[in-house]
């Protein structure tokens, strides 16, 4: 059984794609993260070109995040003002990221760059989460513990301070735009929503209540995903709609499974599992970069015969 992906130009096993998406979705439901940072590397393991995996993964993020964002909006957990300011940065970051993808693909370095960035990013996230979850086991509360007062002090000195009533905080517009730019850039280059970075930043650095941070994070990710999907389609022609639809299905089912499994574990256990999952994917990608390739030459792209 195979499924021909017209934009990727390759045939894949749809059950394998569905299975990967369901796995990423389960992790997403289990750990409360988007799962995009695991989905893109897993798609690359299946042989899908990284640029198509990242762009189609971003399209999938639109579908998966809009369900969550709607639910949080109904519950009053979305700070629309912060989300819109964040979005202005995300649009700029997404545009910059799509151009970087275009340039790196032209130079033939995108695939390696994206893998290298993933290895570094997953190593940092995995190590941080592992350390944090192991430390949490020794704390009576079991919750995360950080010392962020110095960074908070720096944020308070930035210009254009404004009040965010829903979040109940006061911070600089520049910082929110910068955070949005970073999230947009990550979405375009890596196919991730960036929630695994932006939501902790909102919670721990800005002091946004957890549910509002998650709701606002999902709200901005819907629009970041829309913006980046459009820019990737326009600039790089790498959005594979068929792949994205299979991913929607798998991720949606997986997210529900994950949410149910999560009830059987304590928070620090879940964070420990996620840390191990992240480090395992990182190790797989690193092995790919460090071990000699099967063939010295790979076909980056072919055309002219279609």
């Amino acid at each position: 059984m195979s499924l021909y992906l017209a934009v990727a130009g390759i045939a894949v096993n749809p059950l394998a794609v569905l299975g990967l998406a369901a796995t990423a979705g389960t992790l997403s439901g289990l750990f409360g993260t988007g799962g995009g940072f695991l989905l893109t590397p897993l798609l690359m393991f299946l042989g899908i070109p990284p640029a198509v995996a990242a762009a189609s993964g971003c399209n999938q993020i639109v579908a998966s995040s809009c369900t969550g964002a709607l639910a949080h909006k109904r519950l009053g957990n979305v700070d629309v003002k912060m989300g819109l300011i964040f979005l202005s940065g995300a649009v700029l970051g997404g545009a910059a990221g799509a151009q970087v993808v275009r340039i790196l693909r032209g130079l033939g370095h995108y695939d390696d760059a994206v893998k290298a960035v993933y290895v570094v990013m997953l190593a940092l996230i995995g190590a941080f989460m592992l350390r944090e979850s192991l430390q949490a086991r020794q704390r009576p509360s079991g919750g995360p513990g950080f010392t962020t007062s110095r960074i908070k002090g720096l944020l308070a000195r930035l210009p254009l301070q404004t009040e965010f009533r829903v979040s109940g905080i006061r911070t600089s517009i520049l910082f929110i735009v910068g955070l949005g730019f970073f999230a947009g850039f990550l979405a375009a280059t890596l196919g991730v929503g960036g929630g695994f970075i932006t939501i902790p930043v909102m919670i721990y650095l800005l002091g946004v209540p957890t549910l509002v941070a998650v709701g606002t994070g999902l709200f901005q990710i819907v629009f970041t995903g829309i913006s980046v999907t459009f820019q990737q389609a326009l600039t790089n022609h790498t959005v594979d709609l068929v792949l994205a639809v299979v991913l929607f299905g798998g991720a949606a089912i997986g997210a529900q499974i994950g949410a149910r499994i999560a009830r059987f574990f304590r928070a620090q256990q879940i964070r420990l599992f996620l840390a191990v999952a992240v480090l395992a994917v990182m190790a797989g990608m690193m092995a790919g970069l460090l071990s000699p390739p099967e063939t010295a030459m790979t076909i980056v792209r072919a055309g002219g015969g279609h």
Binding site: G35, D240, A302
Partner: protein, 273 residues
């Protein structure tokens, strides 16, 4: 398989009938038939087997060459930089067909004259003459000399062989008297476009007859639409992708709301970022 066998039987009967009525004329005559003239490749296209058959002069060996449209490929060579294997050089290869297969009723070690006439050899070297390997960007490209090109062409061939696009199959044709038959495998990634099949009858060290046929592999309308829309109408395609994503997300939310039974169970709908 049943369809292929039936096809072969029909061809054999036709060949026998032809020979019965004109034995002298059939001696140097060659035909080439396939069980399909057009192959429609849809989203579930899993590759296909194309049955080939025909008549050939008595006592001849049959060689069938299948050549897909030429295309430009970008090859990236990986090299070690410190502990990491990275793309260190990229070249463009022009003039190599995207599909190349040779089936024969005998070995592929042909006399020089036949090799020149058919372009068939024991390896893919005959293709190299028409290929160009270019380094540098599209504005300032340098054509690499044959000795440097060869490494790249060998690697391209290996990559194509891995995908079943390039194959050399000695004894892939069965000759029975004055008829022959065989099967060509076209993988899912077979190039779309016209594929040219040429059959050669070789006897006493020379080509005594040949026949040609063209088979078209084309995407079904939905695949064509997706491919064309993504490349030629990227804005409309991007908007469609977004609408589909939003509609799917909302539909999934509704489905799970109903499955959960209670509208208040919205916590379970957070699918992530």
């Amino acid at each position: 398989m049943a369809r292929i066998r039936l096809f072969h039987v029909i061809v054999l009967l036709m060949v026998s009938a032809t020979l019965a009525f004109s034995p002298a004329a059939a001696e140097e005559r060659m035909t080439l038939m396939t069980d399909a003239g057009t192959i429609e490749a849809g989203m579930g296209f899993d590759g296909c087997r194309l049955a080939i058959a025909g008549e050939t002069p008595a006592g001849s060996q049959v060689y069938v060459k299948i050549v897909g449209p030429a295309q430009t490929s970008v090859l990236s060579r990986r090299g070690r930089k410190g502990p990491v294997w990275l793309a260190v050089e990229a070249v463009r290869v022009q003039g190599m067909p995207a599909l190349y297969q040779v089936l024969s009723s005998n070995g592929l070690d042909l006399p020089d004259g036949v090799r020149r006439a058919t372009g068939i050899g024991p390896d893919y070297a005959p293709l190299y003459a028409g290929a160009r390997v270019l380094s540098g960007n599209e504005e300032h490209a340098d054509v690499l000399p044959p000795d440097r090109s060869r490494t790249y062409l060998d690697d391209l061939v290996r990559a194509y062989e891995k995908g079943d696009l390039y194959r050399l199959i000695p004894k892939g044709i069965h000759v029975n008297g004055t008829s022959y038959a065989g099967n060509v495998y076209l993988p899912p990634e077979a190039p779309r476009g016209e594929i040219r099949l040429t059959a050669y009858a070789v006897r006493d060290g020379r080509v005594v007859a040949q026949a040609q046929r063209t088979v078209t592999v084309r995407n079904t309308w939905l695949v064509r639409l997706m491919d064309a829309a993504a490349r030629q109408e990227p804005a409309a395609y991007g908007i469609t992708a977004i609408i589909v994503a939003l509609a799917t997300g909302l539909a999934v939310a509704q489905i799970f709301r109903r499955l959960n039974g209670l509208a208040g169970k919205e916590k379970g709908l957070t699918a992530g970022q």
